[in-house]
Each structure stands twice: as structure tokens, then as C-alpha cells.
Symmetry: C2
Subunit: 247 residues, 2 copies
């Protein structure tokens, strides 16, 4: 996996920032360091592919990159093979993964990223599908993919939009921690809870938590790692999480 | 469907009440009016079947009913055929539905409830599986059922633990309304958002929203109905929702 280059964002929207604004610096340096000029955007997690590609493309153009929606290409698999960089946006994870399977893109993207080092950017659902499965998504199962197994660019699970329990809350639905604990009653894979505003940067066999440093007292961008049968552990922005890649 | 008898609760836990306490009156009258003495409890939505059956059974015994866990029966399908009433508890909806399929219980329960009028009680995940599909669950897909199609005791979807968006919230993950709207981009079925504390009572072709009357200013037990391409509509406790059964 020495070639793997990933930027896995928790979300595109973050409180206090414009759309993708929190990630502009990391996104720009990630793409520039791989001499990327054109980004292949995958808008399958939402239904209006044109509007979604325009929304993300307008940010990318401002940062100096061009952007093509994979849905405009006659042969999506060929587009993946020709891509300088692949960016999969958020939305509904089930819809996204079903479409990736329908269009024969799971194996194609996996090969390009793992074997050829094509840079991969994911956000929210695009981060979920980059992991070993979509089993720790927060989304509703609005459509049924043939499998919950995903691109497996990393050998663990991520929970995007991670949020701690509201200690003053009156709502009795399961907290995010309780849901992840239920996952671990039946699955072994570690789950990295990535808060909005943070991302996991993966360079080959090294993984680092990136994100803003808290500017407001009480703001927290720590990630929380859940492992089966263990207490969860907290990692600050800047932490080396490479151990998660050694499964 | 003239024989159908359902009590579909949003949740077992409600702020300000003990476990199942909010539902004691409705549950007791529902079971008594059908002369039920023994309840067959289905604990498959959680992994510890004995503990879960004991938790619900202790409430049922206090109310005057006996309770048997289906997992203690040598032949679960035969247990369904012999049941006076079937109660499916909450937990993880994917795990619950997968187990119902594995044990050949989907068709068996459906037949008993729809053709023979065996009273059915559901809570949370047990309410999700009573509808046409589990596509509007809030749960994580911790295991994969063979299908998202469920018991279809009613011809629409329910979102249990329904909650309105937090207008002061900083979290940018999709709101419940946004998730249900995504469902409606790809599906036709109406979705009834059932708040914690409320339930849908179905007697043949009549459906009524039941629940506590607000005792604290600001508390709200209204249900919110989402239909594809329409503004959502609010229904108070006591409302006749029979129109939802005519699909």
C-alpha cells in the first residue's frame, strides 16, 4: 500500500465555515503535491449530479483545479483509469455504494488508488465508502446496495460527522457511541469517529489526523477511536494514526 | 386486512418516564381487549436475548401478562403459530430483520397477524419491521439482511424516534427531515415520523395516533407525515390516520 494517497474528510459543511472552506488548505496542498490539475468528481451520493458537480467544482476552480463529473463521461470505468485524482462527495452512502457497484467502479477505483497511487479525496459518504465497509454510516438505507463492503482503501471503519452524546439531551434514541458499540458486538473492525472539520490524511502506510485547531473555547476536534472490547480513546489533531493501517 | 391489530410504538424509553412506563396503559388495554394472557417476545434486535426478554417480561408480568422469549423455543415458526400475541422489541433494525429472515419468520408473522388477527406490538426497530421496509430506520447497518423489505403489516414507512431539526444546533450532519426527503427522491411510500412517547394503534382498517398529552409547556407529541413532493403535515395525538392504510 506504499502508493496510497488519501484525504478522508468527515464532512464538507462545518459550523462556522463556508462550504468546504475548512478544508481549502489541506485540499489544495494534497492535490498540488501530486501535481494534480484535473479532478474527477463522483456525485453519485446525491441525485442531481450536475448541480452537485457544479457546487464542488466551483470551489475546486477557485483553488486552481478543474473538475469533471464522472456522470458526464461516456465510460465511467475509463474515466477512472484516466483520472489524475478522484473525489467522491457526500450524500447518501447507500445510494453512493449501490451506484459504484452498478457501474463496475468499486474494483476500478480500488486498483487505481492502491496500485497506481491516484490521489483520492472523500467527504462524508465518500469517506465511508473508502473504508472497508459502509456499516458505520449515519445514513438511512434508502436503496439497497448488493453488499455493504466498500473500497477498502483502509482496513478499518470510519464514522463521519462523529459527535459525542448530548449529556443534557431528552432524546432517547441510541447515541453514536451506543450505535458503534452495537457494531462491535458483531464486528471486529476498529471505528474511527471523525468529527466535522477533521480529516484523515493517508500517505502510503502513514496516517495523520488533520483539522483546524480550536479557536473557540469548548470547540473540540479530537477524534475518538472505538475498538471492540476496549474503552474508546481520544486523539488530537496532528496525531499519528498509522497503527490503524496495520491490520 | 380487517383482522389486523397493531400497537406500533416509537420507542420503549421516553424522557420523563421509566422503561415502557409511558405505554403501560395502552399496552394493557390493547392486550386485554384481545384476551391475551401470554406474550411471545422477539428479542432479536439485541444480542443478549435472555437479558432483553427479562427486561420486557418484568414489565409485562407487572401488568398481568406472562412473557416467553422466542429464542427459548425449539421451533420459532411453531411458536409464532401458537402465539396469543407477538411483541418485537427495539434495538438494531438490520440485525432484527436479518434474524427474522434467517429463521423463516417474516412470512409466518405476517400471516398470523394479517390473516388470523394475532395482536402485534412493536417498539422502535420492532415498529420499523412492521412497516413495508426498514428503509427509514435510524440505525447503523451493522449486519446485512437479505432484503430491506419487512413484514408490511402496514403499507407505508415509519421513522421511529422522530425528532425535528435542532434550530440552534452546530452539527451539520443531515437532519431527520433531510434524510426522509432523500428517501423520497427515490421512493414513493409515505413516512410517518413518530415521536418518542407516541404510537400508532391499528384496528383493521382504522389507524389512530396515541400518546401522552403534553404536561410540560413546549413538549410536543405531534406526529409529522412526509409524502413525496408535498410539504410535511402535523397530526396531534388522537388523530385518525386511517387514510394511510388505503394504499
Amino acid at each position: 500500500m506504499g502508493k496510497r494517497q488519501l484525504l478522508l474528510m468527515s464532512s464538507s459543511a462545518v459550523h462556522g465555515f463556508g462550504y468546504l472552506e475548512h478544508a481549502e488548505e489541506d485540499l489544495t496542498s494534497f492535490l498540488q503535491q501530486h501535481s494534480v490539475q484535473r479532478v474527477l468528481f463522483v456525485p453519485y451520493a446525491l441525485t442531481d449530479h450536475d448541480a452537485y458537480t457544479e457546487k464542488v467544482g466551483s470551489v475546486l476552480r477557485k483553488l486552481g483545479f478543474s473538475c469533471t463529473g464522472i456522470h458526464t463521461q461516456p465510460d465511467p470505468v475509463a474515466a477512472v483509469h484516466a483520472a489524475e485524482a478522484i473525489y467522491i462527495g457526500g450524500g447518501n452512502t447507500f445510494l453512493l455504494l449501490r451506484t459504484l457497484y452498478e457501474r463496475q467502479l468499486v474494483a476500478a477505483i480500488r486498483e487505481r488508488v492502491l496500485q497506481h497511487g491516484v490521489p483520492y479525496v472523500g467527504s462524508s459518504a465518500g469517506t465511508n465508502v473508502a473504508t472497508r465497509s459502509i456499516q458505520t454510516t449515519n445514513d438511512m438505507p434508502i436503496v439497497q446496495p448488493p453488499s455493504f463492503e466498500a473500497l477498502a482503501l483502509v482496513p478499518f471503519n470510519i464514522n463521519p460527522h462523529y459527535i459525542d452524546p448530548d449529556v443534557n439531551g431528552k432524546h432517547k434514541g441510541e447515541t453514536r457511541q451506543e450505535r458503534i458499540n452495537q457494531f462491535h458486538e458483531l464486528n471486529e473492525s476498529p471505528v474511527l469517529g471523525l468529527r466535522e472539520g477533521t480529516a484523515l490524511f493517508v500517505d502510503g502506510d502513514r496516517a495523520t489526523l488533520v483539522g483546524p485547531h480550536p479557536s473557540v473555547p469548548g470547540e473540540c476536534y479530537d477524534a475518538r477511536l472505538f475498538r471492540k472490547g476496549q474503552e474508546s480513546a481520544v486523539y488530537k489533531v496532528g496525531s499519528d494514526l498509522s497503527f490503524l493501517l496495520k491490520q
